[in-house]
Symmetry: C5
Subunit: 96 residues, 5 copies
Amino acid sequence: MLIAKVVGTTVSTIKDEKLTGRKLLILRQTDETGAPFGKPYVAVDTLDAGVGDLVLTAHGSGGRQTALTKNSPVDAVIMAVIDHLQVNGEVVYCKE
Amino acid sequence: MLIAKVVGTTVSTIKDEKLTGRKLLILRQTDETGAPFGKPYVAVDTLDAGVGDLVLTAHGSGGRQTALTKNSPVDAVIMAVIDHLQVNGEVVYCKE
Amino acid sequence: MLIAKVVGTTVSTIKDEKLTGRKLLILRQTDETGAPFGKPYVAVDTLDAGVGDLVLTAHGSGGRQTALTKNSPVDAVIMAVIDHLQVNGEVVYCKE
Amino acid sequence: MLIAKVVGTTVSTIKDEKLTGRKLLILRQTDETGAPFGKPYVAVDTLDAGVGDLVLTAHGSGGRQTALTKNSPVDAVIMAVIDHLQVNGEVVYCKE
Amino acid sequence: MLIAKVVGTTVSTIKDEKLTGRKLLILRQTDETGAPFGKPYVAVDTLDAGVGDLVLTAHGSGGRQTALTKNSPVDAVIMAVIDHLQVNGEVVYCKE
């Protein structure tokens, strides 16, 4: 899984019918302190995450192992909202 | 999923029989404003997308979760045409 | 899928039994004009492609959705030989 | 599989229900001597690994081939704790 | 598939039970002449390959399409030992 920050939202009228009602959020991968890097990607949100949240995303077929994404043409899902991250015994990120 | 711009088309006479009638488009990944970067890749179009459209592509086995791509030797599909993208509360891309 | 050029061939005596009789070609990814870049990779050829051909390769489980690669320990297949590629309305590659 | 070092832990209250009770650790890929490089990623721990351990992680659907991760929305699992690594006949890493 | 050189071995006492008796080798990807580059990765050996051998590795679910790796938490397998490689009509690698 990747640590990522929710940075935005997408709107699509024309889409695969299995995506009707699905929330597709824009994310950027972050390091363990929540600092984003690299280019944005998009994942299905099944946990009502919001812009600014630090989350974990599962990719590939792992992105379809939820009730809302099963058998859909998607390859990434938000499967956890992060409360805090600890590295080498020190808290490096804490949700506000 | 990746945000990508449709930049071109492919024509192949010799191909796997399951690809007969499938439209294979050339795309380039973009950032959240629709600016392309990196090398081109190819995805099956099931939504009648056109050159210049900003779309989302699902990769891997996710690319075969549509009626038109099921069981085909493909690894990417266009599953949404983007209307607009919003980042940190600001609209950063809007379809013309 | 990736656009790639067939650049060579492999010979292996010791291999998984499901690969007996399979042609494993060496490819390099190319841009949309057929110019190769990056390191070589290997894919199963099911279309009798030849060295110099520009092809499309499907990766991951998509590489096993053909009659010749089903259930084999492979992760890439040539599933189309490219005739021509068009980018922004202009032909940028044409098979000789 | 990747060689990786366990560097930290994650805590999430809001998560997919299949992740209840799962330990999600932060890792960084290492070279063959155990020297980390690159950005962190997260994997499910099924072996009671601890911070500082050098481990192997399996990715993609391979991450769900354990009793604890089956059918869960995850894409990486720790499937071995490394005792020692030998390169070109020389021991380059040994667990303390 | 990737062209790779076997460079070392791993030993793990604590591991998923399905890995009991499996040989996990350290590899580095190579170019078509057998020159290694990049960071090491680990694959299951089902062909009794040895350190120094040039091999092909299949990744992802393709790594589990052998009798020895089926349903195991692994994502890469050695599925061929290379005898020779030919690029543009010239032999560029030949097993000693």
